[in-house]
């Protein structure tokens, strides 16, 4: 009997430590877990008109992070990350590698990054507990400080801190996108597929397309927390149209702003897709400013209107 009480006490200690944890601490633990833990996740990516089942395997081989993402439905479409190189293996073209520290797509790369970077645009609030993928989990809301961006919520496994569900919500709290883990397997060591991926000779990192320095674009207004992370001029894939390009980000939301010579066919002023991606166009003289990103279209429109050149 005394042993049982002792066992209960031991069990309750870490739990009570978790009770005191702040929402930010939960997210920081998630960030660390995503970088260091070895696990296999089966997950479903939901958008308004798409459901995609995926498998994500993450581990460490010789102190290097190795990850593998596989699409289970449709033509083969995989991505492998070894260290800071991500190789995309897709059925309709030869494999190619880019330099990146996360595989784009599964979860926002910011989740595995420094969480403090998100504090300018978002507040972290602890929510309730629920059960996901057969595991108890803790809800952490990532609430936008203003109406210029979407909010997020993420459920974290109480055991490993790995995310079990991720929602992106629009301003009306309607679901735009969801990633739902259906099975999480915590591994003792990196599985053989990751060892093979590590040994495999992947194509060398593609030389970055030449980035010509763009004009000195500035914005008279940006939502708080957004910064310019990149400026260049390049040609659009497919149409070869020369554009000036500015990348904006607040950590979670990424917005691309393009300035191009106004063509004959005008684009609609505002355009929204059901998965949250929006596009806003503004005509300034004979130039056309286009803002694209997963943000409310009003924000994009306002950003497009506030661009200036120095």
């Amino acid at each position: 009997m005394r042993l049982i009480w002792l066992a209960l006490l031991v069990l309750s200690l870490p739990v009570s430590a978790r009770e005191d944890m702040s929402a930010k601490a939960w997210l920081e633990n998630m960030s660390q877990a995503l970088r260091t833990q070895e696990f296999k996740m089966s997950l479903i990516h939901l958008q308004s008109d798409h459901i995609r089942p995926l498998v994500y395997i993450h581990g460490q081989v010789e102190e290097q992070e190795v990850a593998f993402l596989e699409h289970l439905n449709g033509p083969p479409k995989n991505a492998v990350r070894v260290g800071n190189t991500v190789t995309f293996i897709e059925h309709d073209q030869p494999a190619y590698s880019v330099e990146a520290d996360r595989i784009q797509g599964v979860l926002p790369p910011a989740f595995a990054n420094n969480i403090s970077l998100l504090e300018q645009g978002y507040q972290f609030v602890l929510g309730g507990r629920s059960r996901l993928a057969g595991r108890p989990s803790q809800l952490v809301r990532i609430i936008a400080n203003d109406d210029n961006r979407y909010s997020y919520q993420v459920w974290l496994d109480m055991d490993t801190y790995l995310p079990l569900r991720y929602d992106m919500l629009n301003l009306d709290k309607q679901l735009l996108e969801q990633i739902l883990v259906v099975e999480l397997i915590v591994l003792e060591e990196a599985p053989t597929i990751l060892h093979e991926a590590y040994k495999q000779q992947w194509p060398p990192v593609m030389p970055q397309p030449k980035r010509e320095p763009g004009n000195n674009w500035q914005f008279s207004w940006l939502p708080s927390g957004f910064t310019m992370i990149l400026k260049d001029s390049h040609r659009l894939i497919g149409s070869h149209e020369a554009v000036e390009y500015i990348a904006l980000s607040d950590g979670l939301t990424h917005i691309s702003v393009y300035v191009a010579r106004a063509p004959e066919t005008v684009l609609p002023d505002e355009l929204m897709t059901r998965n949250g991606l929006s596009l806003a166009t503004e005509r300034v003289g004979n130039a056309e400013v286009v803002a694209v990103g997963k943000a409310p279209v009003e924000t994009l429109s306002r950003i497009a209107k506030s661009i200036t050149i120095e």
Partner: protein
């Protein structure tokens, strides 16, 4: 039925035979009339006869029992069976038709999306950077669902112009997605020299 048998029946009426024998007797329909008669005789001897004697009561009861299920069952079952059958006959085809329309509509949608995707890939193949597939690994540029803008202007567009417009929207969205892949390694704090100027609010 011989004399001995008659005695048996008589004994049975007086409750002087065993149960098994009684069961045998019950199976013997010829003895039923005798059984009744002996009871009647016994009753008459004891002066217990009712004023009116229904000589064939057991037969009446048997007939009533036999008639019961055949009379009651149709009364209850018939209306219950026919009514819903008529209702469902009206509803089910309607649902079926609706489902068929929905399926047809979804097939059409898939066809349209499929064509658009096909066009995109063929354009990509002819581009100078064939290695870049801008369709993201997860999350594609789904078909535009809502368009707020100069609708009246759009209506005057020719089909070609609408296609051109759609193509340009797709290029921008694809480039945006591609930039996400390429700029993935660029962190915000790497570019501290470029600072925003949030002057107005």
């Amino acid at each position: 039925m011989d004399k001995l048998g008659q005695e048996w029946v008589s004994a049975a009426v007086d409750g002087e035979v065993e149960e098994q024998v009684l069961a045998e007797l019950a199976a013997d329909t010829d003895s039923h009339g005798q059984w009744r008669d002996y009871h009647m005789i016994g009753d008459a001897m004891r002066g217990e006869l009712p004023k009116m004697v229904d000589l064939d009561l057991s037969a009446n009861i048997a007939a009533a029992i036999e008639a019961e299920p055949t009379i009651i069952a149709p009364k209850r079952v018939e209306p219950a069976q026919t009514a819903p059958a008529r209702k469902s006959a009206g509803i089910i085809p309607m649902f079926k038709q609706f489902g068929q329309y929905a399926i047809a509509a979804s097939v059409a949608l898939v066809a349209v999306v499929g064509v658009q995707n096909y066009n995109q890939t063929s354009e990509l193949d002819s581009s100078p950077l064939p290695v870049l597939n801008t369709r993201p690994l997860v999350g594609s540029a789904s078909p535009v669902s809502l368009q707020t803008g100069p609708v009246q202007k759009n209506q005057s567009f020719t089909n070609e112009q609408v296609m051109e417009q759609r193509h340009r929207i797709n290029t921008y969205i694809q480039d945006h997605m591609l930039q996400q892949r390429l700029n993935n390694s660029v962190n915000i704090d790497d570019n501290s020299d470029i600072s925003p100027i949030p002057v107005n609010h």
